[in-house]
């Protein structure tokens, strides 16, 4: 038997349905095939007859040779080690892990969408262009903005486009503004997008209520500030109550208000960001608009702007003339393109279907139930976990591990223990303004009994922390793999299979450490 086949026969650690599964490179064998191609109806000539051999490769070294059955079993087993929204509660803060409607998956497969080439003549894509145009209008209506670009592939991509637009706006007027104000509660992408767009990030501290104060903004606002980036509701789950006043202050000195729209799930049909003074906002279709997360994408991050900024949008823009839709590439002040073609159409399609399924009434109900669920969680857990900001939240709430510190239990331990009870943990150690943060966003698609089960579990874990803390420290135990040695992974990065034996090093007995806020030096210690 070959080594590959020996490995399969000697498979280790099968535990019922959670089966062990080697890499694709560690199985299969010479001559196995899993593909079927169209028949050869033209002459088959060897590559070297057409292309000089020094430009050709010898072979695809290391590529697997598997049968279709091998492939299906492999990936089916892999899928069984994953936890998705369809498995259960997924309360990741600021990620809006809501249920992904299945009809949206179905419509994405319609041939007249999935098989259309982006360079097809526009006359034969009118339905597609109409869909995109209408989606832009819906998103503009929901956010209270004037125009939208669907080009960005993700929220961070939308942020980047937004900052490039701001940069272009000021340069067009002959102004050079170098600073962007970013709150300490901001997502990391806000900071990094600022840098990529050649701005200098200036931090603003939130006040004791956990929100931005207009007074603070006033002190830091000057003619060098191009924009302030806010998230509303912010990552503490709190509505930025002073945003109206903040917008006024920023506008007065000629700056813009950029809103990170990741948390839009709390506001649909309740308030329009445009009315609060926001000039541009990116949306996350894979959050608020129910398209699936995919294990890390694809998403889409459309950017909505007020008309002052419309001339700078990336090209092409979609225009309607009579009943005809067309692309317009002729925007002399446009920032250009941030990707090839027009955007993640396959994702847009799903969010379009979602908006058409929900309507105005449905979307408002979404926000209402999302906020109801988060407040319910907050109220029922506050007697067991420390709540740094004890007033009504929006669609997410933040706890800390302070109550459990005395048992030498931290946020990470609590999160890992939740896994043993069949839950995906909430977001941990973010936002950075709160030490040991546990950020929970239940979303509107979670039922009351689902929440109750989660609440009971969290209460049980709080008791375990007091009475039997080792259960938390050793968690998770009912899983495919226990806590992983992230130190080893970082010290000796092994980022691809090289044919050598898997790492047989002695496991690092120290638990992976929680992150500390040491950004920018030791000052935070």
């Amino acid at each position: 038997m070959t080594t590959h086949k020996e490995n399969i026969v000697k498979k280790i650690n099968d535990t019922g349905l959670i089966q062990d599964e080697p890499l694709i490179f560690e199985q299969g064998g010479e001559g196995r095939r899993g593909y079927s191609l169209p028949k050869w109806d033209v002459q088959k000539v060897e590559a070297k007859q057409v292309i000089p051999s020094h430009l050709l490769r010898k072979e695809l070294t290391g590529f697997p040779q598997l049968s279709e059955v091998d492939v299906v079993r492999h990936f089916t087993r892999l899928s069984q080690w994953n936890y998705g929204v369809d498995n259960g509660f997924y309360p990741l803060g600021s990620c809006t892990m809501k249920y992904n409607p299945k009809v949206n998956e179905e419509v994405a497969k319609i041939r007249g969408f999935a098989q259309v080439h982006p360079y097809s003549p526009q006359e034969i894509c009118q339905g597609i262009l109409k869909l995109m145009y209408e989606l832009e209008n819906y998103l503009a209506e929901i956010t209270g903005m004037d125009d939208v670009t669907l080009q960005p592939a993700a929220g961070a991509h939308g942020e980047l486009a937004g900052l490039m637009i701001i940069r272009a706006y000021f340069r067009d007027r002959g102004e050079r503004r170098s600073k962007i104000l970013v709150p300490d509660t901001a997502h990391g992408t806000n900071c990094s997008s600022s840098t990529v767009a050649s701005f200098r990030m200036v931090g603003i501290k939130s006040n004791e209520k956990g929100i931005l104060s207009a007074k603070q903004v006033d002190e830091q606002m000057d003619d060098q500030v191009a924009a302030i980036m806010v998230t509303n509701p912010n990552t503490l789950g709190l509505f930025e109550e002073e945003l109206g006043e903040i917008a006024r202050i920023v506008h007065q000195r000629g700056g813009f208000v950029y809103c990170d729209g990741a948390n839009l799930n709390a506001l649909m049909g309740i308030v329009k960001l445009g009315d609060l003074g926001v000039d541009m906002v990116h949306l996350n279709l894979h959050k608020t608009f129910s398209t699936p997360h995919g294990g890390g994408g694809p998403g889409a991050g459309p950017l909505a702007v007020k008309k002052e900024l419309t001339p700078f949008l990336p090209v092409p823009v979609i225009e309607k003339a009579g009943e005809t839709y067309r692309f317009n590439f002729d925007l002399p002040k446009s920032i250009g393109k941030i990707r090839a073609f027009y955007g993640n159409f396959g994702v847009m399609l799903k969010s379009y279907a979602y908006i058409l399924s929900m309507g105005a009434e449905g979307l408002k109900k979404v926000s209402e139930m999302a906020v109801l669920n988060a407040n319910y969680l907050m109220k029922r857990l506050k007697d067991y976990y420390h709540l740094p900001y004890d007033w009504p939240c929006m669609h997410e709430c933040v706890f800390t591990d302070r109550n459990q510190e005395k048992y030498h239990i931290n946020t990470l331990d609590i999160a890992k223990r939740l896994i043993d009870y069949g839950f995906h943990p909430p977001t941990v150690y973010f936002p950075l303004v709160v030490k040991g943060a546990l950020m929970m966003e239940p979303t509107e698609t979670e039922s009351k009994e689902g929440l109750d089960r989660f609440i009971e579990t969290m209460i049980t874990i709080a008791k375990e922390a007091e009475e039997n803390p080792d259960l938390l420290r050793e968690a998770p135990s009912r899983v495919k793999v226990r806590r992983l040695d992230e130190v080893l992974a970082a010290r000796k990065p092994k980022l691809r299979w090289t044919g050598k034996n898997p790492n047989n090093q002695i496991p690092n007995r120290n638990s992976p450490s929680p992150p500390l806020n040491l950004r920018g030096g030791w000052g935070a210690l």
């Binding site: 992230e486 970082a490 690092n508 120290n510 450490s513 040491l518 950004r519 030096g521 210690l525």
Partner: protein, 128 residues
Amino acid sequence: MEFPENLLYSEDHEWVRDEGSRATIGITDYAQNQLKDIVYVDLPEIGSEFKKGESMGVVESVKTVADIFSPVSGKVIEKNLELKDHPEWVNTSPYGKGWLLRMELKEKGELKELLSSKTYQGKISEES
């Protein structure tokens, strides 16, 4: 935790060994303890110059990055190449094998601005 008395300390948790016109620099036992397992150290090029307080490089653990702020002004003349394969020495031996780099001092007077072991320890207990 240890804070050898023959060394000088900066407020940013670096230690300095006075070697005449030169100095060896590292991070303190307190710093490595806070960072936990160090996975990578990014040190500057030999010959590069820094003013006191400027960031020279970073020390990384799995989930954190911390700047190494130059405790003195000077030029880098040597750096600990072993740390590439053994970043863990900064944890196990922060004052010995885990030293970071050696500098040629520009302004010897700056050493007076650094803290003694006792003062540094006092500062740490204040912070925690």
